[in-house]
């Protein structure tokens, strides 16, 4: 077993125009984990994924994929990587079946059988022209291609935005149908606004806000540790206090990391409430 993280990102910063897309982002993605990347529009989700993949060059900082610098990926690492962007680039003039065979020829680990099975499952007719597919169908075709070469690392940038609920469930199931080459579970990084889908599969969650890491951790650990408290007064900024918001004259809402918060930081008898991913997202972003 290999202990190198599947992805490691150190002090990534990216600016274009006057906009800061990423601001000193540092994180590791362990092999076999499923990292959900969430945040409001413009929080830096796509920028982060593109920097990880070496598709965008950051102003500072660096990242590695499967132990290889993102800006200098070897053919071997590229072959172990599956990526689906928000608007998949496909060969519009080909038929679906031709596109699949053409791409398949480029990958050493390609499974034609898996590709055909996924097409059936995602209801994509192989004799259709790629040009005539809807956006949802194009996304599904890109997902089929990403999965059928059985990569060790899958990166999805809002892959299911155009899929219906049944298609989305099928997509979630398909993620776990093959193992990485070393027999370990596949590593997945997925950005999405569909928190209920993410909740089904994520082992880890990264909350981005304005290009910064707002919160990152194991999903189950966060659920047990990060909670909501309501108090009658403001609480001074301190370790473990992730976000505070005034709801009314005598009502303050706080997102707290119960393990990092000092004893006595909250008034005695303050009720704490556990949060779903959706509730936590809202509490952190309002």
């Amino acid at each position: 077993m290999n202990d190198t993280p599947a992805i490691s990102v150190e002090h990534l910063s990216l600016r274009y125009g006057g906009v800061t897309a990423l601001d000193d982002v540092t994180l590791n993605v362990e092999r076999g984990s499923v990292l959900a990347v969430v945040g409001r529009n413009g929080a830096g989700k796509s920028s982060l994924l593109q920097c990880m993949l070496g598709l965008t060059v950051p102003q500072s900082g660096h990242s590695q994929l499967l132990g290889c610098p993102s800006l200098d990926l070897t053919d071997d690492v590229k072959a172990r990587l599956g990526y689906v962007s928000q608007s998949p680039e496909l060969f519009e003039w080909l038929r679906v079946g031709e596109q699949i065979s053409l791409i398949g020829g480029l990958y050493p680990n390609w499974s034609e059988e898996l590709a055909r099975a996924l097409c059936v499952r995602f209801s994509i007719a192989e004799d259709m022209k790629v040009r005539t597919l809807s956006l949802g169908e194009k996304q599904r075709l890109a997902i089929v291609i990403a999965l059928a070469h059985q990569p060790d690392l899958l990166v999805f940038d809002e892959p299911v935005a155009s899929l219906d609920p049944v298609g989305r469930r099928d997509f979630l199931r398909a993620l776990f149908e093959h193992e990485a080459r070393d027999g370990e579970p596949v590593t997945v990084v997925i950005s999405s606004h569909l928190l209920e889908d993410l909740e089904r599969i994520a082992t880890h969650v990264l909350f981005l806000e304005k290009g910064r890491v707002q919160l990152i951790g194991g999903r189950d650990e966060l659920a047990e540790r990060v909670q909501l408290a309501v108090t009658a007064h403001a609480i001074a900024p301190q370790a473990g206090l992730l976000k505070s918001r005034q709801l009314a004259a005598d009502e303050w809402q706080h997102v707290v990391d119960t393990r990092a918060l000092a004893d006595g930081a909250l008034p005695p008898d303050t009720a704490l409430r556990a949060l779903s991913l959706g509730d936590l997202f809202e509490a952190l972003n309002t």
């Binding site: 089904r200 599969i201 189950d220």
Partner: protein
């Protein structure tokens, strides 16, 4: 054994915890028998479209709690064990009671009214059970 899990992703309870709680409740209630097999990790993951690692985590926790054991060639089976002690069963009931108490407070019910409602619900259930199990012959 065909445990039908109810997986609710959009709640504050992590999915592994939902699985653990539901198996523990089924065991405590006696609706499973020792030797009953849990569905495989893969089957549960596939059915509910969840991460197999989450199911593994739940099963490992159940194993460490002594509720299930791993059997070669069979997967996870419910362990032969004494029926859950009273305090275990009460502990499993506590979250539901807490919820009912919170709702009764929100509705502005008095303690007496809430208790009466609980007694009524139990009486209703008992009446139903009596008619249903009239022929049942249990030692």
């Amino acid at each position: 054994m065909n445990i039908l899990f109810v997986i609710e992703p959009s709640t504050a309870t992590p999915i592994y915890r939902q699985i653990v709680d539901q198996v523990a409740r089924a065991v405590a209630a006696g609706s499973t028998q020792p030797g009953d097999e849990l569905p495989s990790v893969r089957a549960v993951a596939e059915r509910y479209a969840i991460n197999p690692m989450t199911v593994s985590k739940a099963y490992s926790l159940l194993e460490s709690q002594g509720l299930v054991e791993r059997r070669r060639g069979m997967g996870m089976v419910i362990r032969a064990a004494a029926p859950a002690a009273m305090d275990t069963r009460l502990a499993l009931l506590k979250p539901a009671i807490d919820h009912a108490v919170a709702v009764s407070r929100q509705l502005g019910l008095t303690d007496e009214e809430a208790l009466a409602a609980m007694r009524d619900a139990l009486a209703e259930l008992n009446a139903h059970d009596t008619t249903k199990s009239a022929k049942k012959d249990r030692p």
